[in-house]
Amino acid sequence: MQRRVEEEGRVSMQCPTSGSTETSSLTADREAPVYSSYQKITDGLKIVSYVINDRGKYELTPDFLWQPVTVVNHQAWEEIAKKTTISRNKVAAGRVSCLHYYMTANQMDIGLVAQYTGQPRWKVCLHLVPFVFARVSADTLRKYAELYKISLDDLCKGRLLAPFTMTNNQE
């Protein structure tokens, strides 16, 4: 993991600082390894961007993504992963309920969970306490299970599954 990050960093260093669009598109062609990491970001999705051609006209150019985007996207996911790990440890230590883990892993905050489940924020706050969570009604649990696309059983037993966005992606 660390290795790959290093590699991306090296490549992004080579990106022109004051480069015009033409030079950046050249860099994209030259750098084979980055290309693969861009594919990883978009899952092989080919997107289009506006790039100036040799006659100075803008063209929709397929298959071109400005490379530094990968770095910031990666940074955002690292942050989410970090928060998720902290939350996982807290759940293991019994300081918060497994709802906290699912909330964090799905990039939500209390306000968002409250909106999605149609409850006041303070209730969601209370449900983050393991003692309260163990006594939550089945109806409310069902709402949470539906929101995170997990089974009621998993939620009751407190199994920490990967968020659904990471698993059931269609090809």
Partner: protein, 337 residues
Amino acid sequence: MILLDFPHTQSAHCESGVAANLLTHQGLKISEAMAFGLGGGLFFGYLPFIRINGLPLVTYRAAAGNILRQIASIPGVGMVEKKFRNRDEAMAELDKTLAASIPVGLQTGVFWLPYFPKALRFHFNAHNLVVYGKEGNEYLISDPVFPTPVRCPAEDLARARFASGPLAPKGKMYYLTRVPVELELTPHIIRGIQSVCKMMLASPFPLIGVKGIRFLAKRLGKWPQRLGRENADLHLGHVVRMQEEIGTGGGGFRFMYAAFLQESAAAMQEPRLQECAASLTAAGDTWREFAAMAVRICKKRGGPEASYPAMVACLNRCAAMEEKVFTELRQWTRQQP
């Protein structure tokens, strides 16, 4: 099964792509860049009181729905826009409209769309797409940032339409009812440019337009002290993501708008617009320079040339360049008959 004949063209930005595709479907062929320009899509806003994933909203384009609304206000174009409270009602209305063989545009939250790349599934609620058919329990979707049409189960689409959080779509759907056979572009190009100039130069709020860029520059310089190094880097990464990630066409929509100016220059035989397009491209390149610098800081490889003060200077340069471009454009629009 319903399957409408819909021209799917891939585009860089979702809303202008949807607008261009819907108009093309109705027989009025325009490019994505033109739709973006007619709709006055370019903007800048730094709105720290709206939080996305806990980070302040920086936007380089007009509010969601603005492009479509402005295009719908062109005389001869009719658009119906509906919002819903109830999920079933919203899906029933979608089916009914599809059955009347009208392709329907939807605003959705990308987090709930299963066909989206994993790495882009954030809670972002202003993604537009067109539904042009239904097969069994699956909708056939023309998502303008995808190269080919995609499919999405009804259940997931319903969730995406009722995503919560900032910019919640509330089941918003829209479709065109009529379009003019021929469209004289010139007055609408001028109007589109006017509205963008107004936003960029003459906004009374300091968070919007060129003033907003300067405001962001000022705030950004203080981030390392106010937020700590790590958090400041996160904020910075967020700014760059809003600027460059999918759906911007690069350079925070500046390149797309330059493409529009170029196309307008050709359509109106107006060399001044061509010059403005060139200066806007230069501004876009400066934005990219800023982003490249930011990325080096995020990777903790900032040399002396990549530091927060250097980025403040770079942002101020962007602001100055854009101020010049839009002042020139404003002058141009005032000289038009």
